[in-house]
Symmetry: C2
Subunit: 323 residues, 2 copies
């Protein structure tokens, strides 16, 4: 394999997309961007590694898609409009079929959100992909994790748990049923909720994306906001495909601790819930799943009684439970 670093960039990554805010893109020592005085810059960086964030047999298209999706999800959680990305790709060897697929998955999503690749790095090493995305938000209208107040209603976009259920099916090698195809696709191709995040800017008090599981991430939102949460488990949105393939207890476990949905978790003051309902987020459901409390910690309720889940979440270093 004689494909060099510069050939890789030229052949697979130097696409001729244009954006008025990108003055100088790939090819120099750094990229140069225009800024606007009425906007703030929003930046996120996420890394995905083989065997941790995607399976070893993952298709390169899905890896490319995921590398950007998890980052766009972070911008969505801030209410920002994505604009550009940098890519660092560590590859064991320059496999042209792999690169072609990876670039296809990456740019499919990038073009859908008008995100331009402005630079990055390609090195030889174990398969790891880091993407930094940048975007813009008007004035001070960005969303944080820290703005929730006791009494706010808690909402989730989409159907949490489906991606974790899909991952379980992938691992078990079960791909036949339509329900399984749907769930696996939810794991392989999570949709960053960019439009939802944009629409929440003037309505939500706090927001974050669910990457480590609903319970764990709600715990972080509570801690950042200095309050607690009461989660009504009956209110969690139902997933017919999950119910077809998993027992009730498993469905609940996936919904509470599944880490790959990239749905938005957010809080809204009761006086603003009507305004939230007025906005058109269809076809993505937004479901009220509980309320913020002054008592710290996340407490789950099922059938009127407190419910203590078996597991609460995921941490890359503290657990041996790889995903």
């Amino acid at each position: 394999m004689s494909l060099g670093e510069f050939d890789i960039i030229a052949k697979y990554f130097a696409r001729r997309q244009a954006r008025s805010d990108v003055v100088l893109g790939i090819g120099d020592d750094a990229a140069v961007l225009n800024v606007r005085a009425d906007r703030k810059l929003v930046l996120a960086m996420d890394t995905i590694a083989e065997g941790v964030h995607f399976l070893e047999q993952a298709a390169p298209e899905d890896i490319g898609y995921r590398a950007l999706a998890v980052n766009l999800s972070d911008l969505a959680a801030m209410g920002a409009e994505p604009s550009w990305m940098s890519l660092s790709l560590s590859l064991p060897h320059a496999d042209e079929r792999w690169l072609d697929g990876f670039a296809k998955g990456l740019f499919e999503l990038a073009e859908a959100y008008d995100v331009v690749l402005i630079g990055g790095d390609t090195v030889r090493g174990p398969l790891t992909v880091t993407v930094q995305v940048g975007g813009w938000v008007e004035h001070d209208r960005y969303l944080t994790r820290s703005g929730a107040r006791a009494g706010d209603d808690i909402f989730i976009s989409g159907v949490p748990g489906e991606a974790a259920a899909g991952l379980a099916l992938l691992r078990a090698g079960a791909k036949q049923a339509d329900a399984a195809v749907h769930l696996i696709q939810r794991f392989l191709r999570p949709t960053p909720r960019v439009q939802v995040g944009r629409g929440l800017r003037t309505v939500a008090t706090a927001a974050m994306d669910v990457s480590d599981g609903l319970l764990a991430d709600l715990g972080k939102l509570c801690e950042a906001s200095g309050c607690g949460a009461r989660l009504e488990l009956e209110a969690l949105p139902a997933s017919p495909p999950m119910r077809t393939l998993f027992r009730g207890e498993e469905c609940l476990q996936h919904a509470l601790t599944g880490g790959d949905d990239y749905e938005l978790l957010f809080t809204v003051a009761p006086t603003n819930v009507a305004a939230l309902r007025d906005r058109a987020f269809a076809p993505i459901p937004l479901t009220r799943i509980g309320s913020m409390t002054s008592e710290p910690g996340v407490h789950c309720f099922l059938g009127g009684k407190e419910y203590v889940p078996a597991r609460t979440g995921y941490d890359h270093f503290a657990q041996t439970d790889h995903r």
Copy 2:
């Protein structure tokens, strides 16, 4: 080892540095930054991997330093003022001594340039470090690789080849002599030429940092500028420590192909050379090493005759010659 991802961030990376342009730093889904209408945003991203960009026995302090230094060097080449960084750290396991040393090396350099860590990611995986740096440049006063014109003088900062000589000594296990210590330090702790780059903004026609070797990088500058170069090998700055420890031919080879100096290579129109000389860049020497030509390609001259080097440069994928 039970240190989790959030503990790692809190203990080693969430330093309380302040900058007026950083509105929201580590801890949310993304960072938020103020921009100024009279500045452009400059962004660079570089990855360093064990066994490729640093030796397996490298001290964590030196790895942390290098991860930022190579990125600051890119900003220097654009004439930008560094401001913030994101860090993605892929680690096989959470070794506290390693993390402590890594953070020490990283922040030592960050604080010297008032660079704030605004976010990033920590994942379990093979040792790889990606840093994205951002900075600002006034209006359109950034430097590119593409502005050189035939007739421009070519300059290099510092003494190219010393880092490569230091790496050769490190590999050979030779660390006794003072000369060796100097050269090894030049490899382990390259100085990003930020002040030089800032000073060049209104004087140079083109600039880049030398990361893949003088010849290879000059070739890239020529290609980007649509011209060629005549390199006068006698003019290359002398390195007394190199001459103490290496034969003349080896010194020349290191100077032409050594990839780790991170010196600035730049071009200046002859009418501006006096202005360049007026600026105070001391103690960093700036040496004229040739001139740009209309004929494409890089041609070396030694004793009035054309000289063809044995090797020309480094490419991570095309060569098996790891560094």
